[in-house]
Amino acid sequence: MGSFKDIFDTYNWDQTIESIFSKTEHDVLRALGNTKRDLEDFKALISPAATPYLEQMAQLSRQLTKKRFGNTIQMYSPMYLSNECQNICTYCGFSMTNKIPRRTLTDDEILKEVAYIKSKGYDHILLVTGEANRTVGVDYIDNALQLIRSQFANITIEVQPLLQDEYEQLIESGLYAVLVYQETYHRDEYKKHHPKGKKSNFDFRLDTPDRLGKAGIHKIGLGALFGLEDWRADSFFTALHLKYLQKTYWKTKYSVSFPRLRPHSVGLEPKVEMTDPDLVQLICAFRLLDEDVELSISTRESEIFRNNIVNLGITSISAESKTNPGGYSVAPESLEQFEISDERPTEEITAMLKSQGLDVVWKDWANNWE
């Protein structure tokens, strides 16, 4: 059985950019008019030629999102389990060479953090780690899942890429979804930003969703870290990846996230800027490409941006997130992976959603069926 790499390797980065930038107004109008849209339409919709049509894209994106998801927004909360990491990632506060105190939560600490998150109403949780296979390997993650599975309806992880049988083991322990962002689909730039550690293996990361699909995971989250490379090309490859996975692992659900580089303790400046209108255009383009895919936005984005984007295609958001292990209650003062932007408490976010006629969904899964 093949993998995404086989398809990916037939594409060329520069030609992809050229193809996106050569899209015309005519292509955009056709993409807007089509009821089914393909990847060429997607290219047109993320191209500069589509920027005059942003409002129309937003209206369509809103309509499609309401049709499929109704007037709802799913809430989730991230929980950092560890900031130990053997990778060097130029943009990350947890990067191995950063001289920061390292912490991996103990069982007691995990439960303390969980109690805080539960008290805010969350039933969907995202567990995050760095990559430190000796101390925070599969067994550590497995233990964490078993420790908290009775308290959450839905557990997602964002950790180092694992092997198929390791994912199978974690699914047994209550794992629902895995987020694995390629960061950038530009092979050489990827290498520059990940010079050391297991993460420097581009192909191993690229084929992680395949291993997840084969393991029978319920949901896979994709994305690129915007700022490393041209956001349009990275988004095209994310969409290509998504379409491939949907066709191959048809029992799995998919989500796409839109992380933009945020300041952290190292302070890498984005190489390629992605503006707010760019990000709105991209979110709408993903919705126009796919009516069913979940689109997620985190607290990296600003208040005003989040207040508006929840009406334009986004289906799930986090709030009041802490990006340091123990950040909620155990060690609130420790160093964060990155600074969040929207710091409003959960109650304020849910009030904002309700005032816009959106129902706040806390629980949308039952993890005791299997």
Partner: protein
């Protein structure tokens, strides 16, 4: 008829690799035909030749595979025509596997159109027996082309056991009613990793063209040609319709113009 576009007026040239492939076989024509219901074997032959179809299904129950001079088989003896034996008449997976093995031996082809319809009235395919037989036949080395309901999940299950294509129906076989299952065909076409051949129900060239415009890889037409007043002309008509539909699909249809959505307050003004 090959449809050639004149490059001198700026249209794209006809694609070189417009052929399509099932297993190891390449086809110039995306029209597959059948051999039933014709008024004579001669008319059948003329109609199939006029249609330029390269894959022609034959009901095993209709031919005497022991007889090299069998009337139907004899008339199909042309270099460009590939025979596709079908298992019409069997009611279970077990019978289908048996029939397929007999046909492989006698007709020297490992291709089989898997048809299991226990119901003699509407001839609707049994999904459970079909999946079972498909799995078995793939293991036995057959190129399996299963005739099924337009059931997207079944199509994925068949793909997983290794069928080389799927053949969902447009409407009950022989009904000539067209693409009654359109919604489901569209899902199947959208999801499939193997060729999708719309089989059964296609009653007019316009139906065939429409199936091709939706993105079907091929269509199989029998009754509509065989029972026409003039099967030879109808064979030609289907050939043209299938070619036109495919060309339109590749050229990409112009979008349908929708009425303006109801005006709502601007959603992107916060960006200013």
């Amino acid at each position: 008829m090959e449809v050639h576009l004149t490059s001198s007026v700026g249209y794209p040239k006809k694609k070189e690799n417009n052929m399509f492939q099932i297993a190891d076989k390449k086809f110039n024509s995306r029209l597959f035909t059948g051999t039933g219901k014709f008024s004579s074997s001669i008319v059948m032959k003329e109609a199939i030749l006029a249609s330029e179809s390269e894959l022609v299904t034959v009901a095993l129950k209709r031919v005497d595979v022991e007889d090299s001079q069998d009337d139907i088989l004899r008339h199909l003896d042309h270099a460009h025509i590939n025979l596709l034996p079908n298992t019409s008449g069997v009611r279970t997976a077990k019978e289908a596997v048996f029939a397929a093995q007999l046909s492989r031996e006698a007709l020297e082809t490992n291709w089989v159109k898997l048809e299991i319809h226990p119901d003699p009235k509407y001839l609707l395919p049994d999904p459970i027996e079909t999946l079972k037989a498909a799995e078995e036949l793939v293991k036995l080395g057959f190129v399996v082309m299963p005739y099924i309901h337009a059931d997207p999940v079944l199509c994925k299950r068949l793909e997983e056991v290794g069928t080389q294509c799927v053949m969902p129906l447009g409407a009950p076989i022989g009904s000539n009613k067209g693409l009654k299952t359109q919604e489901f065909l569209e899902i199947i076409i959208d999801q499939s990793n193997v060729p999708v051949i719309v089989d059964a129900g296609i009653g007019a060239p316009s139906h065939a063209a429409y199936a091709m415009e939706l993105g079907a890889d091929a269509v199989l037409v029998n009754t509509a040609i065989a029972v026409s007043q003039n099967p030879v002309e109808m064979g030609k008509a289907f050939k043209m319709a299938v070619a036109a539909g495919r060309l339109a699909y590749e050229a990409k249809l112009a979008p349908v113009v929708h009425k303006k959505a109801e005006a709502s307050s601007p959603l992107t003004s916060f960006l200013n």
